[in-house]
């Protein structure tokens, strides 16, 4: 029974197909919001789904010199990493499907897996644009990963555990956005960096390097990388809302909170210019890391005082 429910969870609900569909819904909301902010109409509700279906139907062209194992395997790995992370995160307003002590670190690693796969894919295809895109992607990974992890660490310290379900139990009733505002801000902007949304989209700056690391991808491979991005979006949003915005309380609250966060992210996307990669790294290592370290310091002191 346990295996069957696990399989059902992994494949259909709440992870798996329904997660992909909800991810596409969120992606549509993001694109629609950005369009409305720019005084345009924006796509219709089924656009990301239609894009994915179209890409699956298209021919996949493999450049002559790549390693085929990596070329075909990396998109699958990226998507798999993103989907596996969903097992430990409270998505759709339900408790995580499974949990064990230390699964926060595992989840964050699994969420970095798509970015590393993109970097590796870019190196593998070794076209000029892909190489530069891959380098930028990995450089950006080093930039935002540490502050993002530290921002996630804030609630973990407050709850006194590395297990996501324990942390969400603690945050229910405690609105950590009020007590750790800096951590919340860094987490939200860190999520924008992870997803390579503007202003941190230097790795896929279309006016400089066409499509970055994914330039040579087409068809199924590209579709899987994109779907991995959508899944990452929703997992990141649910993680942040579970940690900072009063835990897990059901689907309706989940929708409201994550959509509010998405609104803020779209607004930030639209009003800020793309940063150059050296400016991104400079910004994160100067402001992001320092701010979140100050936050942690304050917290540790307060906790030590209280104890």
């Amino acid at each position: 029974m346990n295996t069957l429910t696990s399989l059902f969870t992994m494949l259909f609900f709440p992870a798996g197909i329904s997660l992909i569909l909800v991810g596409m819904f969120y992606e549509w909301i993001d694109r629609k919001l950005v369009a409305r902010f720019q005084n345009r109409i924006g796509p219709r509700w089924f656009q990301p789904l239609a894009d994915a279906v179209k890409l699956f139907a298209k021919e996949q062209i493999k450049p002559g010199i790549v390693n085929p194992f990596l070329f075909f395997g990396l998109p699958v790995t990226a998507l798999a990493g993103a989907l596996t992370a969903a097992l430990y995160v409270p998505i759709m307003g339900l408790n995580p499907a499974s949990s064990f002590d230390g699964d926060l670190i595992v989840t964050i690693y699994l969420l970095s897996l798509p970015t590393m796969c993109v970097g590796l894919a870019g190196w593998n295809t070794s076209g000029r644009f892909s190489l530069i895109g891959a380098t930028r992607s990995l450089t950006q990974l080093f930039a935002y990963e540490a502050p993002f992890l530290l921002a996630m660490l804030g609630p973990a310290l407050a709850a006194g555990s590395w297990q996501i379900s324990t942390i969400t139990e603690y945050t229910e009733g405690h609105w950590l956005i009020l007590t750790q505002p800096i951590g919340f801000l860094v987490a939200l902007i860190g999520l924008m960096g992870k997803l390579e949304l503007p202003p941190f989209d230097a790795p896929e700056a279309e006016t400089e390097i066409v499509a970055g690391a994914l330039t040579e991808y087409s068809g199924r491979g590209l579709a899987m990388f994109k779907i991995g991005k959508y899944v990452e979006l929703i997992i990141g949003l649910s993680l942040i809302s579970a940690f900072y915005l009063d835990g897990v309380n059901g689907i309706l609250e989940f929708l409201l909170k994550t959509l509010a966060l998405l609104f803020i992210m779209s607004m930030l996307q639209v009003t800020l210019t793309r940063l150059r990669i050296d400016q991104t790294v400079g910004l994160w290592w100067r402001f992001g890391a320092i701010l979140v370290l100050i936050q942690l310091l304050v917290m540790i002191l307060l906790k030590g005082w209280a104890a």
């Binding site: 369009a35 409305r36 902010f37 720019q38 005084n39 345009r40 607004m267 639209v270 009003t271 800020l272």
Partner: protein, 140 residues
Amino acid sequence: MKIGTMFKDVFASLFKKNSTQLYPFEQTPTPERFRGNLHYNPSVCTGCCLCVKDCPAKAIELVTLDRAAKRFVLKYHMDRCVYCGQCVVNCRFKCMGMSNTDWEHASLNKKEFTVYYGKEEDIETLLANLTAPDPKPTQE
């Protein structure tokens, strides 16, 4: 130095109507001077061919069926025309004008791009002459 200087525009546009026009369901009327397809009035034409001479794209051909009786047919290539309006300026008798309502050209059939202007019977005569095969020598 501020961050997000376009914030006001961006936020306000959530409440404003978007500026995309859903063509072809919404169409703004074209202004009066818009240079669309050429229209020709055969009754005033004298066959001076000034319009043909100065067309930059060789889009007009004037076929004279009978000069004395003023029977002309204007063959207009809609796809070659650059819509400059020089022919309209050149014509001294005002037989040419550029329509501002007739400008949508999309078509699946190339034949629609060659337009014959003139009196009905003149056009029929011209087309009959074009499509009729060479007369076979009559057998005696």
